[in-house]
């Protein structure tokens, strides 16, 4: 597992607990040291989901030693998107001839990783609604109960869409954590998740609002809908089969953004109804990154929408604006505030 943050650490922890041979590779020394010295603490909302797992963790500098321990069959990359190629180049030399990489990340990084190791060695796995957080060294908290049959958390796919043995294997590994399936529609699923991230991750980082804060603020709610609509239109132009987001039709979002009152009402009702399903303090990962002073994934999320929009000739003015706003906040030129989007 290259990158043992919230998602990577959580999934690998469950693998290790179930007897899978996993090496944890991470760049944060304190995290690695504590995982080795004590154990990885996984905490969930029930006591059955809370336990400590002894794991083997190594620093980036120790990866070169792995040739002696035998190469890896499957390498999960679970770093931030902007570290994808770094992680791929780091692990490349230590894969078996048939070894491959699974992008277990936000955004769409399969192409970036393919640049480094070749497309035939890269598959994707989406973690949907996992809601895990790295709260401190060797301590990961999941904020929602196990979804099980009610909602499939992990979706594993090949870039070419065929269902292969190797993605069945990956799905099996993910089932140690929660429900998982293989999908013939990796690109559509990836883009569907990107729509959600693009509509509120940057917005949270640039305004400082939480998930519920964005839903309850009239301006932020509308900006969310418009950003989602831009992203949907780009995805459709790219030819992706988009999922229905919790029962809402992608076309309805586009109609809402374009002024269809009935559609707008239904989408707003949907966003307001979601408020009841999450805690008030819960904020998207990019909002968390901004609070912690970490570099965000804005370029890889909204910036990616802008880039792909240019390829297919779909204008994405709000995605472009949010990239600019978040980058200014990242550099400390602006403080996140809802006033920045007042006239959007």
């Amino acid at each position: 597992m290259v990158g043992c943050g919230a998602v990577g650490g959580y999934a690998a922890g469950h693998m290790a607990r179930n007897g899978v041979d996993v090496t944890f590779i991470d760049a944060w020394p304190e995290h690695v040291a504590k995982m080795n010295a004590d154990a990885l603490e996984l905490r969930g909302v029930t006591s059955q989901e809370s336990f400590d797992v002894p794991v083997r963790a190594i620093n980036v500098t120790e990866v070169q030693n792995e040739q002696k321990n035998g190469p890896f069959d499957i390498a999960f990359i679970s770093t931030k998107s902007y570290e994808s190629q770094f992680a791929a180049a780091l692990i490349r030399d230590y894969l078996t001839p048939q070894g491959f990489i699974v992008s277990l990340q936000n955004a769409i990084n399969e192409e970036r990783i393919s640049e480094v190791v070749g497309a035939h060695r890269v598959v994707g796995c989406i973690a949907s609604n996992i809601s895990a957080e790295l709260e401190g060294p060797a301590h990961i908290q999941r904020n929602v109960p196990i979804r099980g049959d009610s909602y499939t958390v992990f979706r594993v796919g090949e870039q070419h869409g065929r269902i292969t043995d190797r993605i069945e294997q990956v799905a099996e590994l993910m089932r140690h954590t929660d429900s998982a399936k293989t999908t013939p529609n990796l690109w559509g699923e990836r883009w569907s998740k990107l729509i959600i991230n693009a509509s509120h991750n940057g917005l949270s980082a640039g305004t400082g609002l939480s998930g519920n804060g964005m839903a309850l603020d009239d301006t932020a709610r509308l900006v969310q809908i418009k950003q989602a609509a831009e992203t949907i239109e780009v995805g459709q132009a790219l030819g992706y089969t988009l999922e229905h987001r919790k029962g809402t039709d992608p076309n309805e979002w586009v109609a809402a953004a374009k002024g269809d009152k009935a559609a707008l009402q239904r989408i707003e009702d949907h966003l307001l109804a979601e408020v009841k399903t999450r805690g008030d303090g819960q904020r998207p990962s990019m909002g968390q990154d901004m609070q912690k002073g970490r570099k965000t994934e804005i370029v890889e999320i909204n910036g990616f929408v802008v880039e792909k929009g240019q390829e297919v000739g779909i204008p994405t003015p709000l995605n472009a604006k949010i990239v600019e706003l978040v980058q200014k906040c990242e550099r400390g030129e602006l403080t996140p505030d809802v006033k920045h989007i007042a006239d959007w």
Partner: protein
């Protein structure tokens, strides 16, 4: 002054060069993956020791862990990034620093072997320059402690040779030479490729032999067969370098034609090289081990794929056979993977 500099890979060379820059007021950040090293540098400073008292100093430096590289996005971007990691870590190091380079920023490969091509594949040729450190002889003794084992070479031997890949003398390459000159003598070279390959020929003929036999310099020099293996390795590398179009330099004062003649059976040339190897071993520490031998002892991965492996790869491109280099790689890998103990017999058939 005023340039923002990053050292990626604060090993022996990176620390030595970066430390002297800091001591002279340059703005340098050290990036490294060894936690204890980074923590000690920040807490106690970077300790540089040399063979004379005057060379010993402790420099307060700023070092960061790999996980903190992302925070560079908050500050001014990097103007010059020196990559000083092992060759096999070159590409990830490039990916790591690429997002934080200034628009005019560039990367200097301050490494062994010839890694400019790998870096260029990621950031483009326009953002790559090279710098050779010849006979610097530094060791990372422990966290935050680098020791130089030879005196300042100054005018007697130019330690650093900085060059653009196109060979022109640009302002930025003069800046690189200026920065390296804080440590020891430095010049701009118009022959980066030739210098790189000449150094590679030397390394390719010595490093793997020490690593696979487990012998020190004196024992290797005393063994006629091993001397001949070294000469053959050098001659193959020279042939590949010439076929690749590199303008090779003299190696330890000997022209490349002497190696070529020696492997063709010319006794006089063979004697010149044998005498040179024996004389060289008698001058230094008899137990001195090149970096690859040190890596092997520490159980670290060696640079064999980027050293003799590069000779083989370029040999295939240019149609030059390299059987002795291939045999050496096999022997080193056996030892590296723990499948054989280091032993001169591993090279008996070369």
């Amino acid at each position: 002054m005023g340039k923002k500099i990053a050292i990626i890979g604060a090993g022996a060379v990176g620390c030595q060069v970066g430390g002297h820059m800091v001591a002279n007021g340059e703005d340098v950040v050290f990036i490294d993956g060894w936690p204890e090293h980074v923590d000690t540098m920040n807490r106690d400073g970077l300790r540089l020791t040399g063979v004379t008292e005057a060379e010993n100093k402790t420099v307060p430096v700023r070092a960061i862990h790999m996980s903190d590289v992302q925070a560079l996005s908050k500050g001014d971007p990097i103007d010059i990034a020196f990559i000083c990691v092992k060759s096999y870590d070159t590409e990830w190091a490039t990916y790591l620093i690429k997002p934080y380079l200034a628009p005019q920023g560039f990367i200097v490969s301050l490494q062994n072997c010839m890694n400019e091509e790998f870096i260029a594949s990621i950031v483009g040729w326009g953002k790559v320059a090279g710098c050779i450190a010849a006979k610097i002889s530094v060791d990372l003794r422990g966290p935050a402690h680098v020791s130089r084992n030879v005196p300042l070479l100054g005018n007697s031997h130019t330690v650093f040779r900085a060059g653009e890949v196109h060979g022109m003398e640009t302002d930025r390459i003069k800046e690189v030479a200026r920065l390296c000159a804080y440590t020891d003598s430095a010049m701009v070279t118009d022959n980066l490729w030739g210098e790189r390959w000449s150094k590679l020929c030397m390394n390719a003929s010595g490093n793997g032999v020490a690593a696979s036999t487990g012998l020190g310099a004196a024992d290797i020099a005393a063994d006629a067969h091993l001397r001949m293996v070294k000469i053959k390795l050098a001659a193959e590398s020279i042939a590949v370098g010439k076929a690749s179009g590199f303008k090779l330099e003299k190696m330890k004062g000997v022209g490349t034609e002497v190696y070529e003649a020696a492997v063709k059976g010319d006794a006089g040339s063979r004697k010149i090289l044998d005498d040179g190897l024996i004389a060289e071993a008698s001058k230094g520490n008899p137990n001195a081990t090149p970096s690859m031998g040190q890596d092997m002892r520490k159980g670290r991965r060696t640079e064999i794929d980027y050293m003799n492996g590069l000779v083989v790869a370029k040999g295939r491109e240019t149609g030059v056979p390299t059987p002795v280099n291939e045999g050496l790689i096999q022997a080193v890998k056996l030892v590296e993977r723990g499948e054989a103990k280091a032993d001169p017999r591993l090279l008996a058939n070369l």
